[in-house]
């Protein structure tokens, strides 16, 4: 039975069975009725060596296309410094579990404390949990938190300018949790103030979910929204792009009660969709209503400053069906990515990342619009590094040709509209190449013209 992960020699097995008073390992399954035992071989491949596995994944990898990424929509191609990936692979972090035994888990507990501190700084909120699965589920958890907080209300409003990928997860949770989700209409790329005012005035809303920057990359003006929510006893929940919070007005500055979102944009690779890391920050007043793990500071028997999981009595392993959420763990290792990333980028780095994205995106937008083949979907609306453009060209065709040329040109969000994002990783050459491709996707004619010119 010995294999590279199984150290058992035949002698070991004999001697251990002897201690157990059993003749064979099958004896240890004597409590399993024979008719329930699986007696065949699994229909799976035979064991592969490391060499064969590498070859196989190289083959599979070759079926993917590595594209220069101009797509955002909730997942962003930011740069993650080498330090991040190096540290997160340290096995002391990687192969540990939830830090129940605080005395031998200070590494994990401390970085979670640092993570909470950094997320609180970034969002401006007072407290943060230890992280959640992703931005979509964190928003759904915030929705349930608002309903639990309101006690007798079960309606939540969500702006149509929130990323539809987030909305559909919130709607799924709501459907099963008995929450009614009503949309607040979008007008010209931003949430309709009039529709919001009409719906909040009914005094039956537990929470209101809006986004910053919103799905179209637009920075909306939420002046007065929090006051109106609070006047009608609803929580204001703000779904944010984490990286942008380095420069844009924070949920706390808008007066929000809960800030949620995905931390992927802070040093986590795109990884075809996961793992990412959801964040959820709130006020001290609502800390006990907050789902998920929390790490707190305390002292040990010698008076040394230490960190420990705290407020655990809110959690599923103690409160069972009355817990604030069913979440057990956090997305710990991904929180470590974020923590190291923010340690390196510091106060100024995030600003610089956003500045580069802003410049590249505005340069590209202007170039596309000047061509006459594109127009901004929402002209005059302020955006950071992501924007929607309208075109009469076939967007599917642009994507296909783009992919052949090595570009992920952006996301089709309507028949005539696409969403494009520029991060600090995109060089001016790449932006120029993309612009050329989008403006003139079938350049054969141009080449022919050139050839004609030569002959003339």
């Amino acid at each position: 039975m010995a294999y590279k992960f199984f150290p058992h020699t035949d002698d070991d097995i004999r001697s251990m069975l002897n201690t157990c008073g059993a003749k064979s390992i099958d004896d240890l399954y004597s409590d399993v009725p024979d008719e329930l035992v699986f007696k065949e071989d699994y229909d799976l491949p035979e064991a592969m060596s490391e060499i064969e596995i590498r070859q196989y994944f190289d083959y599979l990898g070759a079926q993917n296309s590595k594209l220069t990424c101009f797509m955002g929509a909730g997942c962003y191609d930011h740069y993650s410094p080498s330090v991040v990936n190096d540290i997160v692979r340290r096995s002391e972090f990687l192969t540990s579990y939830t830090p129940y035994q605080a005395e031998i888990s200070q590494g994990t507990l401390q970085y979670i404390f640092e993570y909470q501190s950094m997320m609180a700084e970034l969002t401006g909120m007072e407290v943060s949990n230890a992280s959640m699965y992703d931005g979509c589920t964190a928003t759904a958890e915030a929705m349930m938190m608002a309903v639990a907080n309101a006690k007798k209300r079960n309606k939540v409003l969500i702006s149509e300018t929130v990323n539809p990928i987030v909305i559909r997860v919130v709607e799924t949770y709501a459907k099963f949790h008995g929450v009614v989700v009503e949309k607040i209409a979008a007008e010209g790329g931003v949430t309709s103030r009039a529709d919001f005012e009409a719906k909040i005035a009914k005094d039956d809303v537990a929470g209101v979910i809006v986004a910053t920057p919103n799905f179209y990359g637009i920075l909306e003006d939420y002046t007065g929204w929090a006051d109106l929510c609070h006047e009608h006893k609803a929580l204001l929940i703000m779904n944010c792009v984490a990286s942008a919070l380095g420069v844009i007005k924070t949920p706390a500055e808008w007066g929000a009660d809960v800030a949620v979102g995905d931390g992927q944009s802070l040093g986590v690779p795109m990884n075809f969709g996961g793992p990412y890391v959801g964040f959820l920050c709130t006020s001290k007043k609502l800390i006990r209503k907050m789902p998920g793990r929390i790490v707190g500071a305390t002292k040990d028997a010698d008076g040394k400053r230490t960190f420990v999981l705290t407020l655990q009595a809110r959690e599923q392993h103690i409160r069972r069906e009355k817990a604030t959420s069913n979440i057990c763990s956090n997305e710990s290792l991904m929180a470590l990515y974020v923590t190291i990333y923010m340690s390196l980028m510091g106060k100024k780095g995030l600003r610089e990342v956003n500045e580069l994205g802003y410049s590249g995106a505005h340069y590209l937008a202007e170039k596309l619009v000047k061509s006459g083949k594109f127009e901004l979907a929402f002209p005059d609306k302020p955006f950071l590094n992501e924007f929607a453009v309208k075109t009469t060209q076939d967007i599917d065709m642009l994507q296909t040709i783009g992919a052949l040329e090595g570009f992920n040109v952006g996301l089709k969000i309507a028949d005539d509209t696409m969403l494009i994002c520029v991060t600090e990783q995109r060089t001016k050459d790449e932006i120029d190449d993309l612009a050329d491709l989008l403006i003139d996707p079938l350049p054969e004619e141009a080449e022919n013209e050139e050839n004609n010119n030569e002959t003339v």
Binding site: R288, Q312, A313, R314, I318
Partner: protein, 126 residues
Amino acid sequence: MSKIIDGLYYSESHEYVKVDGEFGYIGITDYAQHELGNVVYVDMPEVDDEVAAGEEFGAVESVKAASDLLSPVSGTVVEVNEALEDEPGLINKDAFENWIIKVELSDKSELDGLMDAAAYKAMIGE
């Protein structure tokens, strides 16, 4: 051995009612606080909330446990013990002195269904 006070009414889920005219002070017993350990948080209702006999009106939490508070009687909350917000450990110091809510009783006959000190003492086996 836990402290038990004569003249109070006790529930099977370890809450007590101290009756004062039309009002009742509700808290958890000394036995309950001892079982729970250091109380770190008391989740309390708001003034004017209605409570019903046998139904949950809050919870007490220790570090590694939480216990729902079941109201022994029905009525309207007229006061909550705000001192517990800052210092929940008062319950460990004296569970009978530090009641949790004060209720205007809506049906005093409900008290007949509760235990007296002797019966409660027998129930907890002391």
